[in-house]
Structure formats: structure tokens, C-alpha cells
Amino acid sequence: MSDKNPVADDQSVGQELSIEQRATVGLSQGTIVRRRFLAHRGAVASVFVLIFLVLLAFTSVGTVIGGTGKLVPDADSTRLIIDGFRVPGWWTSTWWERYDIVLPGGAPTFTLWPFSFGDHPFGQDNTGKDVFARVMRGMQQSLNVVFIVGIISTVIGVVLGALAGYYRGWIDQLIMRITDVIIIIPLLVLGAVLGRTIGGDALLLAIMLGLIAWTGMARLVRAEFLSLREREFVDAARVAGASDFRIIFRHILPNTVGVIVVSATLLMSAVILLETSLSFLGFGITDPDISLGQIISQYNEAFKTRPWLFWWPGLFIVIIALCINFIGDGLRDAFDPRQKRVPSQNGMGTQVINFFKSYVPGARPGDGTSNK
């Protein structure tokens, strides 16, 4: 990784080191990136929020592994159970069973003073299902889709982009033309057709979306490879007798990690909006399974009478997408080679303080906020 150290970077050799560069002398690339990322308070906070949401979603109502996901009557009791290996959670309600309506209209039982969650903190729908459990299950499925699509499309995009950029010629032509064909059809439209064909299963939908969402990544990686393959360290590796495979994966790929990580994160934030939109249209995850978009679609007519059915799933979509976007922004700042300084004033807290500072009498715009 020594060729990635900004100090050893060929541009800075022979130049006087600036103050900013001196701050990073002797640090490994990983350390610099980590420090820069940790300095981005919005991103760090987002990581914690996201981890919290993932834990909440999966531990609260438990989950189901394998099986068809269909509802079947239990052999022992009269209750409906879900097909597949059920991992129970700590929340008492399930997302498919109906309960007696506690408050009139199924209003949320959550009260701030005296503080209590009650049986159905997010309320109940018109059939008595617990909205909290439904939202949690929906969040599970949405998060599953996000991560699966993120992994699949990153792998495909990186491999195809690397091949196209490294070999150029007809391989490049072939891969790029395929990319063009996919990229010209809006992702949502293509996803809708695929989602409709394979029918409402979350896992299958995620795999299908992963197979079409890699185009942006492939283009970026290809561009990086086209430029990196002309660099001296690649020539050196080739002269030393390294195989193409080794050059691609051991020499060039580590240098594109920044681009890949950032664009994978931004892709994932796009995917959650894509999946929820598809489910909203009815071409993504469908009943009896649940996704955040599907909950909104199911209840959007009831906005006037039961607004809580609409607010909660939407709020969680926004929070998840916002967190992923902030993390992506933090990663971009951390991996940006032009940014030599360790950012110290980009955090949300400072932003809010600066916002008020700029209105203190006598302060000029940029006074309390410039980069010192």
C-alpha cells in the first residue's frame, strides 16, 4: 500500500511539504482514512444510528430464515404461524397476527408523559395488526434488500469494470455496450418488470436488483483502471512477471478501494429508495411479506383517518437513507486524495454552532467557520 501514501505520491516528491501534508507524514493510508472518517461527526453518528436500527429491526420481532414465508395454520394451536425457521424476538406482538384494538381507531398507545410504550406504540391498523411489528419486519426486509443488492452489484460492477478497464479492446467494447443498454432504461422501470416477473419474494427481488444495479459501479471502476494501468507500479509488476490476475487484484484493485467503497455506499442509499418505490407500486415485495414501501402503499388511502400508518414507515425510510448518505459523504471526504487536512469542522454539531455564530453581531460570513 506504500504507493498510496500521499507523501510518497509522485506529485509531492520534490515539492516542499505543506502544513496539511506534514500532518499526515508517516501515517498509513488506513490510519488517515480512519481519522478523517471519525472526524466527520455526522457520518459517525449515522453509523451508530444505523447499527441501532439494524439491531432494533432484527431483535425486536425476530426473523424468519428459509421457508416459503407463507402463513400456515399451526398444527398444535389454532394460531397462524409463518413457514420457515422462526427466530423469536423480545417484542410480544407478531407482524401477521391480529390483536384486539386497544385505543379507538387503533391509535398509538405511546405516550410521552407518563412515559410508556403500551401494547402498540405505533398504533394498529384497521384489522388490529400491530404497526410497530409490521414496521420492524418491513425494515428488516428493506435492509436485507439493501445489503444484498449492495454486495451483488458491487462484486459484478468491480469485476466487469476491472476487466473492461484492464484489457480494453473488444472486452471493453462488449461490457460497455451491455452497460449502455442497461443504463438507458430507468432502474425503477427495469426493476418493476423484473419484480413483477419473479413475484414478491425479498431475496429473489434483491438478487434481481443486484443483477441490474451494477452499471454505475462498473463505469467508475473501469475509468479508474484505465488510468491506473498506465502507472509505473503496474509496469513494474508486469516486468516482475506478475500474472494479469495478480496485477488486477493485488496491484490495481487496492488503489480503487476508495472509489468502490464510496460508490457502493451511495448505491445502497439509492437502493433503499428503489426497493421501497417498487414495493409501493406493487412490483417489489408483496403481501404476505412486508416492506416499508408496501406498508405505505397499503395504507396511503387511510392517511386522513389513521396517519400513524403512514408516518412511521416513511420516517424509517428517510432515516435509513439519510444515515447511509451521511456515511457515504463521510467516506468520500475520508478517501478524497485532494483533501489533505483532517477535517475537524464538518460535524453536524459544529455546523449548528456555526449557523448561530454567523449571526453574532460583528461576525462576517466565514469568520467562525473558515478552515483554520
Partner: protein, 451 residues
């Protein structure tokens, strides 16, 4: 095999006999007819949203870049993140509830409480003072003048019951024309340029003088072409006045006056539309409010042969879907405009321009703006997919009978011909958008030539 016969039908388009098959889902209606009926609405929606997003996004992005690290900049940056993360269907449903249903209820008894007038005035004042920037004194002046102006305007509209009986009239036309002229002069020549001020002043005076004759023109030439005619006419008048008054800087003055002249058509047409307000309210179904939530037009109004009434009708129908669609693109344009202008402002040629002693306005508008717009042209093509996807969702929420609903219907009923027709049209549109972006490229950057 079916695909090739379909392809043959598409190929026949080149000799004028299109055949995209028939749609089973729509009662054996030929797909080409279905698309023909739907394409117009979608194009209107997509174009309006894209253009608005570009104009507003670039304006916000540029002002934040010029006031980098100000409170305004931070607030906008945070908001763009939020907008990026908003699911469009959620926004559309919210808009439908608050923008239409609640707003229509408000129009039933339009009294704006004093605190919301105060809040709007303070926010506008804050934005204005942040954009103007400068010393504390200038900031206080801009803050208070804009806050008082906006607050006063809303208060005035409120007490005169304008929201019940919206009209523009000659006073509104005068106000809007002055505002447009001020913005154009400020961005194009600056207020120091006396000849430009005189030329634009003459154009504005002419517009107001011609307001009464135009009433007859709009009444007798009741078609959409009149809009184009008036635009060209007023633009030409502007150019001629500019050439006559321009003196040394003929070209610049003529251009400024021409743009102002062309833009005066907007208040004039708005005026015509609002003249028909009572008729519009009388014709819409009783259950609907004035801001429509269903469909692209009112069928009862469609049958009336009055362009201005139809325009008003389309406007009230398009308002919310356009806003919903605009919001998803807005964040991208804002961020790219900001980043790109920041990038350009650090270039050497901008420093050279400053060192020559040029004013800040000239440096920004003449030297930086044009170069900063080059990356924006790329986004137009890239953003297309998102906008079409957004249109599918928006049309669903607002129950439009357009391309999106065609696609929904085709998929739901497994009607291959309909879906293929949709793909064909979006494919063609995507190519057109890309061509447009390329042309824009070559217009912005003389180094790039389209051969």
C-alpha cells in the same frame, strides 16, 4: 418470433405506418394510440420538473457556493441530504394531503395567522441577508427590507382577500415585470450600466402601455401560438430598443432588453389565466378543491375552447406532481452546481479576472458561471432515468392517465405490447436527452465540437 414481428411494426414507423401491436389490457386499443394520448402529459410533467429543478437548483447551488461556510450554506447542505433521502411516493402523498386537501380547506376561509406571516417573513429575510452577505449593516438592511416587504405583501394579499379572488391585473403585471427586469439586469449587466437601465425601462414601460391592446389580442387570438407570438414580438421590441439606446455596448444592452422583453410574456399570460379564475372555479367538480389531486385536466374544461382556461386548469393539476418530481432532482442539481462553481472559482482565470479589476458580478456571471455549467449538462442526461422513474410513481399517486399509468397497467395485466411501447418511448426520450446534453456541452464549451 413475436419480437421480430413487433420489431417489423416498429420499423414500419420509418415509412409512416407505425404498428406497435394492440393492447389487450385496454380493450384491444392500438398501443400507438394509447401512447399518443399519454405522451403529452408525461412530457409536460417531466420537462416542467426538469427545467424548474435546473433553474432553482443552480440558483441555490450558486448562492451557497458564493457564501461558502455561511449558516445558509450549512442549512442548504443539510437540506439537500434530506431531499436526497426522501422517497418520492411519500413526498407525493404528503403533498397531496397538505398541498392540496389542507390548502383547499384553507382557501375556504383564507385567514393567515399573524405568526405564520411573521415566520415566512423572517425566513425570507434570513435567506436574503445570507445571499447578499457583506457587512453587518448591509445584512441588517437586506434582512429587514425583504422581511418587511414579503410580510407586508402577504398581509396585504390576506386583507384584500386575494386568496379567494386571485387576480393579477395591471398592478400585478407591473410588479412582476419590474421584478423580472430587476433580476435580469442585475445578473446580466448590473445596475451601474445606465444605458441598459434605460433600455429595460423603456421595454417595461412599453409592456405596461401595451397591456390594454394585448387584452384584445389574447381574446381574439385564443391559442397557444399567441404565447409564442407575443414572446417573439416583445423580444424583438427589446432587441430593437436595446440597439437604439445601447450606444457603445449595443450587443449587451440589446441582449438584456431582449431577454426582459421575452420574459414579459409570463406575467401577461398569467394575468390572462387568472382572469378566468371564476369560470374555472365554477366548472370544476364540487368535491374538488382548486388545487387538483386527480388526473391531468378537468374533462369539463377540456371541452371548452378557451386556451387560457385550459392553461389555468393544467397549471392547477400540474402544480403538485411537478413539485414532487422536482424535489428529487433539486438536491442533485444544487449539490453539483455548488461543487462545480466552487471548483471554478478557485481557477487561475478567475483570479486573473479579479486582478483585472472586474466587479464581482462580472467575474461570477461572465467568467465562472459558464464554465461551472458544463458539469451540470452531464447531470441532465444522467438524471433522466430518475425523473422517468419518478414520473411513474407520481402519476400513480396523482392518478394521471399518462405514460406511467400505461406502464403500471401493462405490467399488472401482463400486456407485453404496452410495456414494450413504454420501453420504446423512454428509450427514444433518453437518447434525445443525451443528444440535448451533448448540444448543450458544445454550446457551453467551444473546445467541444459536434461534427
Amino acid at each position: 418470433m413475436r419480437y421480430f414481428s413487433w420489431l417489423g411494426g416498429v420499423g414500419a414507423c420509418f415509412i409512416g405506418r407505425c404498428d406497435l401491436g394492440i393492447s389487450v389490457a385496454r380493450g384491444e386499443q392500438p398501443v400507438i394510440d394509447a401512447i399518443g394520448g399519454a405522451l403529452g402529459s408525461t412530457l409536460q410533467l417531466v420537462l416542467a420538473a426538469t427545467i424548474l429543478a435546473i433553474v432553482i437548483g443552480v440558483a441555490i447551488g450558486m448562492t451557497t457556493a458564493l457564501r461558502q461556510y455561511s449558516g445558509y450554506d450549512y442549512v442548504v447542505t443539510f437540506l439537500t441530504f434530506v431531499f436526497y433521502s426522501l422517497p418520492i411516493f411519500w413526498v407525493a402523498v404528503l403533498l397531496k394531503e397538505f398541498g392540496a386537501i389542507r390548502f383547499n380547506e384553507f382557501l375556504g376561509d383564507p385567514v393567515i395567522p399573524w405568526w405564520s406571516i411573521l415566520a415566512i417573513a423572517l425566513v425570507m429575510g434570513f435567506i436574503a441577508s445570507s445571499v447578499v452577505g457583506g457587512e453587518l449593516r448591509t445584512r441588517v438592511i437586506s434582512f429587514s427590507s425583504v422581511a418587511v416587504g414579503i410580510g407586508g405583501l402577504i398581509f396585504l394579499l390576506d386583507v384584500t382577500r386575494w386568496f379567494v379572488q386571485p387576480s393579477i391585473g395591471i398592478i400585478g403585471v407591473a410588479l412582476l415585470t419590474f421584478a423580472t427586469a430587476a433580476i435580469v439586469v442585475f445578473t446580466s449587466t448590473g445596475f451601474q450600466h445606465r444605458r441598459a437601465l434605460i433600455a429595460v425601462g423603456i421595454v417595461v414601460a412599453l409592456t405596461l402601455g401595451l397591456w390594454y391592446p394585448f387584452q384584445f389580442l389574447f381574446f381574439y387570438l385564443n391559442s397557444a401560438w399567441t404565447v409564442l407570438l407575443v414572446t417573439v414580438l416583445m423580444g424583438a421590441i427589446g432587441v430593437i430598443v436595446g440597439l437604439l439606446v445601447g450606444g457603445d455596448g449595443k450587443a449587451v444592452v440589446a441582449r438584456t432588453a431582449g431577454i426582459v422583453g421575452g420574459l414579459t410574456v409570463i406575467p401577461l399570460v398569467l394575468d390572462q389565466m387568472f382572469l378566468r379564475w371564476d369560470e374555472y372555479v365554477a366548472r370544476i367538480p364540487l368535491s374538488n378543491g382548486v388545487i387538483a389531486t386527480i388526473g391531468a385536466s378537468t374533462p369539463a374544461i377540456r371541452r371548452v375552447d378557451d386556451t387560457w382556461l385550459n392553461m389555468l386548469d393544467s397549471m392547477t393539476h400540474m402544480l403538485l406532481p411537478t413539485i414532487a418530481l422536482m424535489i428529487i432532482s433539486l438536491a442533485a442539481y444544487t449539490r453539483y452546481a455548488r461543487a462545480s462553481l466552487l471548483d471554478v472559482m478557485n481557477q487561475d482565470y478567475v483570479r486573473t479576472a479579479r486582478a483585472k479589476g472586474l466587479g464581482e458580478r462580472t467575474v461570477v456571471m461572465r467568467h465562472a458561471f459558464r464554465n461551472a455549467m458544463i458539469p451540470i449538462a452531464t447531470i441532465i442526461a444522467l438524471d433522466f432515468g430518475a425523473v422517468i422513474g419518478g414520473a411513474v410513481i407520481t402519476e400513480r399517486v396523482f392518478a394521471w392517465q399518462a405514460m406511467g399509468s400505461l406502464f403500471n397497467e401493462g405490467l399488472n395485466r401482463t400486456d407485453v405490447n404496452l410495456v414494450m411501447g413504454f420501453f420504446l418511448v423512454t428509450g427514444i426520450l433518453a437518447v434525445l436527452f443525451n443528444v440535448f446534453a451533448d448540444l448543450l456541452y458544445s454550446a457551453l464549451d467551444p473546445r467541444i465540437r459536434v461534427s
